[in-house]
Amino acid sequence: MFDAKKIREDFPILKRKVNGKTLVYFDNAATTQKPVQVINAIRDYYENHNANIHRGVHQLSQEASQMYEDAHHVVGKLIGAKWDETIFTRNTTEGLNLVMYAWAMRKLKKGDEIISTVMEHHSNMVTWQFLKEMGIKLKFVGINDDGTLKMEDYDKLVTRSTKLITVVHASNVVGTINDVRKIGKIAHDNKALFVVDGAQSVPHMPVNVKKMDADFLAFSAHKMLGPTGMGALYGKRSLLQSMDPFMYGGDMIKQVTLEKSTWNDLPWKFEAGTPNICGGVAFAEAVKYLERLKMKNVRKHEEEITKYAMERMSEVDGLKIFGPGDYRNRGGVLSFNLGEIHPHDLATILDEFGVAVRSGQHCAAPLIHLLKAHATTRASFYVYNTKEEVDYFIDVLNKARKVFG
């Protein structure tokens, strides 16, 4: 197991003061902070290796090409995928849009159906709404009061027209970890594609695309110690090969005439134009950092913090946590409301004491409405968070309760 206090030393921003107080960063589901190793990798790339990739025979270009290709290996390995099934994207959102544009829009037809859930982040909900114009039907699995999926809904919703089933692996609002193996099996038993939003799972626990038998899995670097502007989309090789590209430009092409073009090999076929080369290199550095900690330890640490935070929060009068009651069934994401205090007010007061949490609808408006909340406050944890920080957070919650008493 690792020592979160030691880890903190790698994160320069954690030494920052906010409103005169030491920063307590509990907004990790939105984005995480970056260790000095990642910041240095960026610097090293630009100070020593920067060049455009693929087509240059000169030394810098060869170095940059190698580093960028290696990054695909490192990121792919984390999720049990081959490097060329690992497409670099800007973020989870782009990954899901790629599947929508390059697979669904071109392979589906009027009357086909897609099953999502009411628990989704907007990026895994609004994206599919685009297909309605084509006459594709969108259906949603509901949730129980404790924020778990109504698994029995799949039986009711699946038909012979179901062509794609998509689900968030771990919810960014209620924290629920969904049973992706079971849902994947339902999808494949019905010859539907299985698409997983891994934005909140890949950063926080061991994830293996083979074990969950995902056809596509999307996630973001910035939520796992990596840079902004980077993400990855895993896709099964046979699927990726059967598809046309998403975007068109340099490096994704084999041969071009004025009339038509043939596509490059994977993964380049799906990475048009000059990619975020430095972002890829820094992403790999973030993954290496996590692999040194080991993903099962990352998960264990978060379970401990989450368990502790749930216990301590239950002592606060009028505090209600959304989502599963057992910390073992959830990620380190705690959405809550404190009496009648508006989440924005609560977040503002927490901020005055240096505690960064998120407040609002967390890009999941339909879910928030189902929870019968207008908005929630959300604390979410990562490798550098400690029980001492949780204690401090509880103290501030109690202060807020007094202000709004």
């Binding site: 508006h342 989440p343 924005h344 007010d345 503002t348 007061i349 005055e352 407040s359 609002g360 609808q361 408006a365 928030i368 207008h374 908005a375 202000v403 709004f404």
Partner: protein, 120 residues
């Protein structure tokens, strides 16, 4: 600086002119994207002046306090004068410093009111 000053908290906890009226002349509504909060303002107009006003809807302390203060400010005022109220006038009245994001909470009521009067 703590923005939850006594003044603000008083208006939040006891908002003036909160609720709905019968047969308003103007009804205006909008949401703050950030939080999903909605505010509705109803107005009765007499001789080019605001005769009565009500506001309602879920909101944070800042948006509710500003709605309350605004309603007091405009009651009895000429519509032409209300159109001249500036963002900073309202914020100044609240007497607190706000970050850009919380400013949006504070200014929601003014925007809703002005939009309503525009159409009146």
């Amino acid at each position: 600086m703590n923005i939850y000053q006594e003044n603000v908290m008083d208006h939040y906890k006891n908002p003036r002119n909160f609720g709905k009226m019968k047969k308003p002349d103007v009804v205006s509504k909008d949401a703050n994207m950030l939080c999903g909060d909605e505010i509705e303002i109803q107005v009765k107009i007499k001789n080019g002046k605001i005769d009565d006003i009500r506001f309602s809807g879920p909101g944070c302390a800042i948006s509710r306090a500003s709605g309350s203060m605004l309603s007091e400010l405009v009651k009895g005022k000429k519509i032409s004068d209300i159109k001249k109220i500036k963002d900073d006038d309202l914020i100044g009245m609240m007497g607190i410093e706000l970050t850009p994001i919380r400013r949006k909470c504070a200014l929601l009521s003014l925007r809703v009111l002005k939009n309503g009067l525009e159409k009146a």
